[in-house]
Amino acid sequence: MIGYLTAILVVVLISALVALALNLQWGQAGMVNFGIFGFFAATSYVAALSSLAGYPLLISLVLAILTGVALSALVALVSARLREDYFAIATLAFAEAVRLFLLNETWLTGGANGLPGIPRPLSAYSSGQSYELLFFVMALVLAAICFAFAEALTKSPFGRVLRALREDDLVAATLGKHVLSFRIWAFSAGGAILGVAGYLHSSYFGYIDPTQFGAFVTAYAFMAVIAGGRGSNTGLLFGAVSVMVLLEGTRFLKDLMPFLDAGQAASLRLILIGAGLILLLIYKPQGFFREHRLRVDKGDTK
């Protein structure tokens, strides 16, 4: 039971980190990263490869973060000045290009078979159930650091400028050139968090392949950010946790409806994700934690 609980919690934490990154990029800076799964995949693979190459935890983690930052900066550099919808297309195209690379460069990535046997960090210190707990604590610490980082950014003058940019074209116009660098920084900060998420993902599961990184990651992340109230980190925590708990809950659909085969149960889950996303947009576009967000915003603008 503890094992199952920690497993769910780790998965929730990883997804929350992806959503946290999106919240910085889209929620704060208005950059619609539809290809977030591509960045997540890239950092996961870098973490996996460096762990497989025998590098210790810290080095793999730093490499994953650097990958996230570098790729984000690169993509942002190229496309930060694009209109929202073009930006979404560009990032999605990037993610698909990453997927193509992962599928086809078999010598490096194992292609469709993926990378098995990724060493688990800290396994020298513990094993079995207590290892699960240890990993969860590590994930929790890393997530807390990321959260503090995002919150600090949000509260800083930098975060205020970002929100002003998002909401008011006039501010954007007066800031002129700086807008671009602000946006690139924000996008890269999100990339750093995706690096942490990628590291946790590959080292927790010990096996990665390209199917783990699809558009559904984008859908989860958008659901969490919208449910939490776009732009609010605290709201996002609730959003990510409740969305993930709901989604994990749908795994029990199969037990409820034994007449479905495994494939049908899986697709039913994804149908529910799609429908959930749509319902959220129609009925709760401001999220479930609006009041909270307003309070945070007021605190900022004094």
């Binding site: 190229v78 919808d85 558009a215 494939g263 996303l277 749509i278 129609i282």
Partner: protein
């Protein structure tokens, strides 16, 4: 070389059908519809159901698929996009990702994830002036060409086509011209559905049918639409032809598995160099 050009044109025409659909919905509804790929898939499977499970000819099945997909598109518009009318385009494009999940997985739920095929006999390719041409290619050429002509005629020569272009040019002004936006949008969905399901059937005849078949076309579609200039359906046709030919030529130097990378490169280049598309001047904005 000529063979490559021919193959490129044919695969470009295949992209052109849904690219026109994407361009029309982009212009009139003002958001990039990421569910376009799953519309192709859905159409292909409706035809599969009628062709394989019911046993009607593929020709009839394709017609039924167009009707069926149009009904599905109208239902989705009513349930999803109409309540979100007037929302910003990020909301709409996130919603279209939701629609993509629902459509693709309804297909998986009903038909499974295995590779399927239509019940048609494959004829041997013809040889003609040193070129290898198979029946599917001729069919794609004829059908796509006809579809383009019909859409062009509707757009440029009928009141409803004018109304469509008017709504995509300036929706408020279209309102005061007495044009009912919901009717125009409904018509756009019907046309888009017909184009997507036709493309789905042609893709299924030429290749394989599986739930991912449409998603694989999403990048080339967006590349074609961006290349042609957003909201410009005729530009999208040109864009699609270019994508098809460049992809085919790229296979000379790149492994075929990287075909789709061509679209990625084209999207990046166009957005960087000519965000208004190839067709000359920036589209005059509202």
């Amino acid at each position: 070389m000529l063979q490559i050009l021919l193959n490129g044109i044919v695969s470009g025409l295949l992209v052109a059908l849904p690219a026109v659909a994407l361009s029309l919905t982009y212009g009139v509804l003002n958001f990039p519809n990421f569910a376009i790929g799953s519309m192709i898939t859905f159409g292909a499977y409706i035809a599969l159901f009628f062709n394989v499970d019911i046993g009607v000819s593929l020709f009839v099945a394709a017609g039924l698929a167009a009707v069926g997909l149009a009904a599905v598109a109208l239902l989705i518009d009513r349930l999803v996009y109409r309540p979100l009318r007037g929302a910003d385009h990020v909301t709409l494009l996130v919603a279209s990702i939701g629609v993509y999940f629902v459509l693709e997985n309804v297909v998986r739920f009903l038909f499974g994830s295995d590779i399927r095929g239509y019940d048609v006999t494959v004829a041997r390719p013809h040889r003609w002036m040193g070129l290898r041409v198979n029946n599917e290619q001729i069919l794609i050429f004829v059908v796509a060409f006809l579809a383009m002509v019909i859409v062009w005629f509707i757009l440029m020569r009928t009141p409803f086509g004018r109304a469509m272009r008017a709504v995509s040019d300036n929706p408020d002004l279209a309102d005061v011209r007495g044009i009912s936006r919901n009717k125009v949008i409904a018509l756009v969905w019907v046309i888009a559905a017909a184009l997507c399901s036709t493309a789905g059937v042609l893709i299924g005849m030429d290749g394989i049918i599986d739930p991912l078949m449409g998603w694989n076309y999403v990048l080339p579609l967006f590349a074609a639409v961006i290349l042609g200039g957003i909201g410009n359906p005729l530009g999208a046709v040109l864009g699609a032809l270019i994508i098809g030919i460049v992809e085919e030529m790229a296979t000379l130097v790149l492994p075929t598995t990287y075909r789709q990378a061509v679209s990625f490169v084209i999207i990046v280049l166009v957005l960087l160099l000519r965000p208004h598309g190839l067709l000359g001047k920036p589209r005059i904005s509202r």
